[in-house]
C-alpha cells in the first residue's frame, strides 16, 4: 500500500526523481493556468459579463475580502501568494473525486514545500513592509527573553502547517482505501464526500493561517517602524 504519491517514480537520474507528485502538480498547474487563461482571455469590464467570468470574479473577490478580513490593508499585494495557496490546495483536493487521482497535497514533500514557502514569505513580506530592522525587532517582542520562543514558534507553526495539511489529506485518502477493502460499496462514497469537505476546509485553513502569519509580521514590522520614526519626526 502506497502512502504517498512520492513513492511512484516515473523517471530517475541520481538525485532527480520525477514522481507522481510532481507530474500531478504540473497537470494541475496546466489545468489552472489554461482555465484562467481561457476565461480571462475574453475578459470584459462591461456591466454584463460571461458566466465564467462572474464565477471567477466572485472567487477572486471572495479571496480578496478574506485577506482583508484577516487584517491585511492592501489585499492586492498578497492575493498572488495567499490566493494561489488556496486555489492550488483547493483544486488539488477537489480533484480527488476523480478515481485513481492522488492529490499532491497528500504528499508530505508538497505540504512541506508549501509550508517552507510560507516560512520564507512571512519575513519577505514583513521586511518589505517594515524594513529589515523593523522585522527583526518583532522577534524581540515583548522583550529579548522571548527571542528563542519567537523563533521556535515560527518554526513549529510552519511544521504544523505542513503536517496538518498532509495528515488530513493523506488520512482521507487512506481511510477511503482502507474502507474500500472492508466495505467497498457505500462507505467509500461518503468518506470521499467528507474528504472533499475536509479538503476545502484545509485549503481555507492553510491560506488563512498564511494570511494571519503575514499579517502578524507586517503589522509588527509596521508598529516598529512607526515607533522608530516617531521621535525623529518629533525633533523635526
Amino acid at each position: 500500500m502506497r502512502l504517498s504519491p512520492d513513492e511512484m517514480i516515473f523517471w530517475e537520474y541520481g538525485f532527480v526523481k520525477l514522481n507522481l507528485t510532481i507530474v500531478t502538480t504540473w497537470a494541475l498547474m496546466l489545468l489552472m493556468v489554461l482555465g484562467a487563461w481561457a476565461i480571462t482571455r475574453g475578459l470584459k469590464s462591461n456591466i454584463k459579463t460571461t458566466r465564467w467570468q462572474s464565477v471567477l470574479e466572485m472567487l477572486i473577490i471572495m479571496i480578496r475580502d478574506q485577506i482583508k478580513e484577516v487584517g491585511l490593508k492592501d489585499p492586492e499585494k498578497y492575493i498572488g501568494f495567499i490566493g494561489t495557496l488556496f486555489l492550488f490546495i483547493a483544486t488539488s483536493n477537489l480533484l480527488s473525486i476523480i478515481p485513481w487521482y492522488e492529490p499532491p497535497t497528500g504528499s508530505l514533500s508538497t505540504t512541506v514545500a508549501l509550508a517552507i514557502s510560507v516560512f520564507i514569505a512571512v519575513p519577505v513580506f514583513g521586511i518589505a513592509e517594515g524594513g529589515l530592522k523593523g522585522y527583526l525587532k518583532s522577534y524581540l517582542q515583548p522583550n529579548f527573553i522571548m527571542l528563542p520562543f519567537n523563533i521556535i514558534s515560527e518554526i513549529s507553526r510552519t511544521l504544523a502547517l505542513a503536517v496538518r495539511l498532509f495528515g488530513n489529506i493523506m488520512s482521507g485518502g487512506l481511510i477511503v482505501s482502507v474502507l474500500l477493502s472492508i466495505a467497498p460499496f457505500f462507505f467509500p462514497i461518503i468518506m470521499s464526500a467528507l474528504g472533499l469537505l475536509t479538503g476545502m476546509i484545509q485549503a481555507y485553513i492553510f491560506a488563512i493561517l498564511a494570511g494571519v502569519y503575514i499579517t502578524a509580521a507586517t503589522q509588527d514590522a509596521k508598529v516598529k517602524k512607526v515607533q522608530a520614526n516617531a521621535p525623529r519626526s518629533g525633533n523635526n
Binding site: 480571462t40 462591461n46 459579463t49 490566493g83 514545500a113 517552507i116 514557502s117
Partner: protein, 254 residues
C-alpha cells in the same frame, strides 16, 4: 512518510511558477476588470448624478418659467377681461344710443303718422259732418244748406267788431274785387243776399267774383287784397280737434 527533498524543492519552484502564472493570467486581469468596472460604474453614477442635478436644474427652471408664464397669462387674461369689459361698455353705450335714436325715429314716425291720421280724420270728419249736416239741413223743410251757410256768414259779418268792420270797409272803398270762395256753387238768391248785406253794411258797391274750393267744406270765404273773412265748418272742426287733443294729453298725463 519520508520527505523527498528533491520533490520539496521542485514543488517550491512549481508553486512559485504557479504564483507567477496565476498573477499573470488570473488575478491581474480579473482585478483590473473589476477595477475598471467599478470605475465605469462610479463614472456612470457620477454621470447620472450630474444628469440628475442638471435635470433638477432644468426642472426648477421649467417650474420658474411655468410660474412666470402663469403670471403672464393671468395678467394677460386680466387685461383681456378689462378690454372686454370696456368693449362691452362701449358696445352697450353704442346700442343704447342706437336704440335711443331708433326710438326717437320711431316716435317721430309715430307722431307723423298720428298727424297724418289726424289730418285724414279731420277731413273725413269734416266730410261726414258736412254730409250729415247737409242731409239734415236738406231734410229740414225747404231750407237749403247754402242758404243757411250764407245766412250764418251774413250773421257773422253783421256781428263783426269795429276793427274788422273798418278793414272790410276799407276794402270796399278801394274798389278792390271781392273774391267769394265757397265749397259749393252758391245759388243766385244766396249771392244776391250776400251782396246786399255787404252793401248795406259798408254802404258801398264793388265787384264780386265767385269761385269754388271743396277744401273749405261747406264754408264761405271773402278775400280782398287787404282783407279776408271766412266761415266754414273747419273752424268748428279745429275746435273739436283741439278739444280732443287736450283731452288726449290730459289722459296721457293722468
Amino acid at each position: 512518510m519520508n520527505i523527498n527533498w528533491f520533490t520539496v524543492i521542485a514543488q517550491i519552484i512549481n508553486f512559485l511558477v504557479l504564483v507567477w502564472l496565476l498573477k499573470r493570467f488570473l488575478y491581474k486581469p480579473v482585478l483590473t476588470a473589476i477595477d475598471e468596472r467599478d470605475k465605469k460604474i462610479a463614472s456612470q453614477l457620477e454621470n447620472a448624478a450630474a444628469k440628475k442635478a442638471e435635470a433638477e436644474k432644468e426642472y426648477d427652471k421649467f417650474l420658474q418659467k411655468n410660474d412666470i408664464f402663469d403670471k403672464e397669462r393671468a395678467a394677460q387674461m386680466n387685461s383681456v377681461y378689462e378690454e372686454a369689459d370696456l368693449e362691452k361698455q362701449r358696445l352697450y353705450h353704442g346700442i343704447r344710443e342706437e336704440a335711443t335714436a331708433l326710438r326717437k325715429k320711431y316716435e317721430a314716425s309715430l307722431k307723423q303718422r298720428e298727424k297724418d291720421l289726424t289730418v285724414k280724420l279731420k277731413r273725413r270728419t269734416k266730410e261726414e259732418v258736412f254730409a250729415i249736416t247737409e242731409k239734415t239741413l236738406a231734410d229740414l223743410a225747404d231750407t237749403k244748406l247754402d242758404q243757411q251757410v250764407v245766412k250764418v256768414f251774413i250773421n257773422k259779418i253783421e256781428n263783426l267788431d269795429k276793427d274788422n268792420l273798418s278793414k272790410l270797409k276799407n276794402a270796399f272803398n278801394n274798389n278792390e274785387i271781392i273774391n267769394v270762395t265757397s265749397a259749393f256753387e252758391l245759388s243766385p238768391i244766396s249771392k244776391s243776399v250776400l251782396q246786399k248785406t255787404l252793401k248795406d253794411i259798408t254802404g258801398l258797391e264793388t265787384d264780386f267774383q265767385y269761385s269754388i274750393d271743396p277744401e273749405l267744406i261747406s264754408g264761405v270765404e271773402i278775400n280782398t287784397k287787404s282783407y279776408q273773412l271766412s266761415w266754414n265748418i273747419e273752424a268748428y272742426l279745429e275746435v273739436l280737434k283741439n278739444n280732443s287733443i287736450t283731452k288726449d294729453n290730459d289722459n296721457e298725463s293722468a
